[in-house]
Symmetry: C2
Subunit: 390 residues, 2 copies
């Protein structure tokens, strides 16, 4: 297996981006990414695009072609990768494998999503379909807040988690989101703000949910030879990747207090990287809802089952704590353009590991120089975990 490094990273501004089309939005990430990698668009041999909403949220059915062309990438091998909300990580895995297998020297993982062109009801339908259409959605009318509300209720019943605990996730992630100029939501919130916000699917309220976001994120990956050739100072190495999937028929799940696919994918990534959860300096986890961040702490082994809330209450997942989590604001505040999210997590790992987060107050202290990104599709229908090391 050839060694592969992330050598460039770029993000667009996340938010409601009806000022740009999907190709222009992608360009906002690709341009700084290529500059960061000291590479030209024509150097890129293969591009894996993470994007879900082709023909649904936005009009282009072939976003890889159209965004690729606008960014000058025509001629490279192209594929669009879809793994629901983990599409960005799936694209990263694909761009990584093309180099690790020896087929390419320099590739790009690009994530882009436009979710705000259409009305909210249609949006909710599309997101609802990202479960098991014929089962949960079509027969029972469940959409995503309802799925995660079920997990929240079970976690509260079994471990005594409270609505205030869920709110702590929002408070933390909005706090760090306010330090991230690319974040969709940059307002700070209090526990009271969260608790008094509109109920969406009890016990989840508006501020327990991530926003629907437009955004793009790009990464350039390179082989060891290419890293040398381009004179990259601080390559960030891909140490491990893990993947798994879970049943889409929620009635078949053993319980609702964790996601099996997160557990498996995390173990697989650590095995490949030869690391353990307690060696991580920080993590990005999939907080599409506040409860999801607590499940993630437990599923990826940042604490034991049922102790996620303890980490939160003690502030262990903030800077100064045991393991800072979601220092870019997470999906909750940075926003969740579903095809781009996985790449944006790896963007944050790269910038943190290089100690160049623009906003120094959210730079995590590094000891082992290892970070992890945990990206879930659906409610654990897919999971990808990526470990980077400086």
């Amino acid at each position: 297996m050839k060694k592969v490094a992330v050598i460039g990273a770029g993000n667009s501004k996340f938010g409601v981006r009806n000022d740009v089309n999907i190709a222009e939005l992608a360009f906002e990430a690709v341009k700084p990414c290529l500059e960061d990698a000291n590479a030209a668009a024509k150097d890129i041999q293969f591009v894996a695009l993470g994007s879900v909403g082709a023909g649904a949220w936005y009009e282009e059915l072939l976003p890889a072609v159209v965004t690729g062309e606008y960014c000058g990438l025509t001629g490279a091998g192209l594929v669009r990768c879809e793994a629901a909300c983990a599409s960005g990580s799936a694209a990263f895995f694909t761009a990584y494998s093309a180099i690790a297998s020896g087929q390419a020297d320099i590739t790009m993982a690009l994530g882009v999503e436009k979710m705000r062109e259409i009305d909210n009801a249609t949006s909710m339908e599309w997101i609802g379909r990202a479960g098991y259409y014929m089962w949960e959605f079509h027969n029972f009318g469940m959409t995503f807040p309802a799925y995660y509300a079920m997990y929240a209720t079970a976690h509260m019943a079994k471990f005594g988690t409270t609505e205030e605990d869920l709110a702590l996730v929002a408070v933390k992630n909005h706090k760090y989101g306010s330090m991230n100029p690319n974040a969709h939501l940059q307002n700070k919130v209090t526990v009271d703000d969260v608790l008094s916000s509109m109920v969406i699917a009890s016990p989840l309220k508006l501020y327990d949910c991530c926003p629907l976001t437009d955004g793009a994120s790009a990464l350039v990956l390179a082989s060891e030879e290419k890293v040398k050739e381009l004179g990259i100072d601080t390559p960030i190495w891909v140490a491990g990747i893990g993947y798994s999937s879970g049943t889409a028929n929620l009635s078949k799940r053993p319980d609702f207090v964790g996601l099996e696919s997160s557990v498996s994918a995390s173990k697989m990534a650590h095995k490949m990287a030869n690391t353990a959860p307690d060696q991580l300096d920080f993590a990005e986890v999939h907080d599409c809802f506040t409860i999801a961040e607590i499940l993630a702490y437990e599923d990826i082994g940042l604490c034991r089952k049922g102790e996620g809330v303890k980490l939160l209450r003690e502030g262990q997942t903030e800077i100064g704590g045991k393991i800072p989590v979601n220092m870019d604001g997470g999906l909750k505040a940075k926003g969740h353009p579903i095809g781009a999210t996985g790449c944006a997590m790896i963007y944050e790992l790269t910038k943190q590991l290089r100690e160049e987060t623009v906003e120094r107050s959210r730079q995590v202290p590094l000891k082992n120089y290892i970070g992890l990104a945990h990206n879930v599709g659906g409610t654990g229908h897919y999971c990808y975990v990526t470990i980077l090391r400086r």
Copy 2:
């Protein structure tokens, strides 16, 4: 780079398959494929699904999850790959890379598409969007027959290709399709049938166009170690893969007599395989329209530019000729379920290289035991070329 072999192949019946849902259709390919590979569903570590129409032609937005679960593949890593009509080959590339890089030992490439649930006008819109939506489709209203009609007209003007020549492609592919029990169209046609069929986009007539097809195709891939462990008699090795892309803005193309991405992808695949076009025993090429097969002959080097028609007129691409092409009936007669087509081409390579095509009259004679699959997305927006060797 680790060696990778195709060790199992399965196809569903192609056609109008409103008798099954997308998961059931996939199962028709996955079941024989796993049996062929002497493997169980739970053995598969990673699944790459080629499928385009999620939320467009069919309802499921996450077909990888739903088909994977129905086929017992839950727990494996999952991704859906979209490269328009080359999606099946893109999925194969992804499943291949996961092994070649050393991350997995046994993976599956699965292609599935259901295109016949919706009305024809909506279908044409979706397919039309698989160009450059905002440019060709939205501004000029062009759909796929029109794109390829432009190529046909240019080829006729430059090289003296005639409508009868185009018809010869249909006659040949329907002939071999009639020997393939899985093919969508199993009727033979004459040159007169083709010439007198309804004009779709002049000079292309109904019988110059492939049908809209439902179908699935599955392949199991394995590392050298796994091939031994499973006791596979006749592994079919992946010798080379090439990929490229072309501008989606047709006004930027240098000419309309060939697809640059086909030329590049073919060269790349041969370079990796250390082979040349004249070493091929046979090929599967992307004949979505009759003109496309002639372009392919020339683009992938089966003959010189402008001499494709000579190959056809002399019967060189039939059994007994220099290089048999599309012995399964091609997209033209076997049908073109766009996400499955790439996998179905590689299925045919596998069966031919093992000399076990059920219908012996379409078994090609093998000398070098090398076959090639050429799979185009859009009008050369994407191209993937795969070379297998026994």
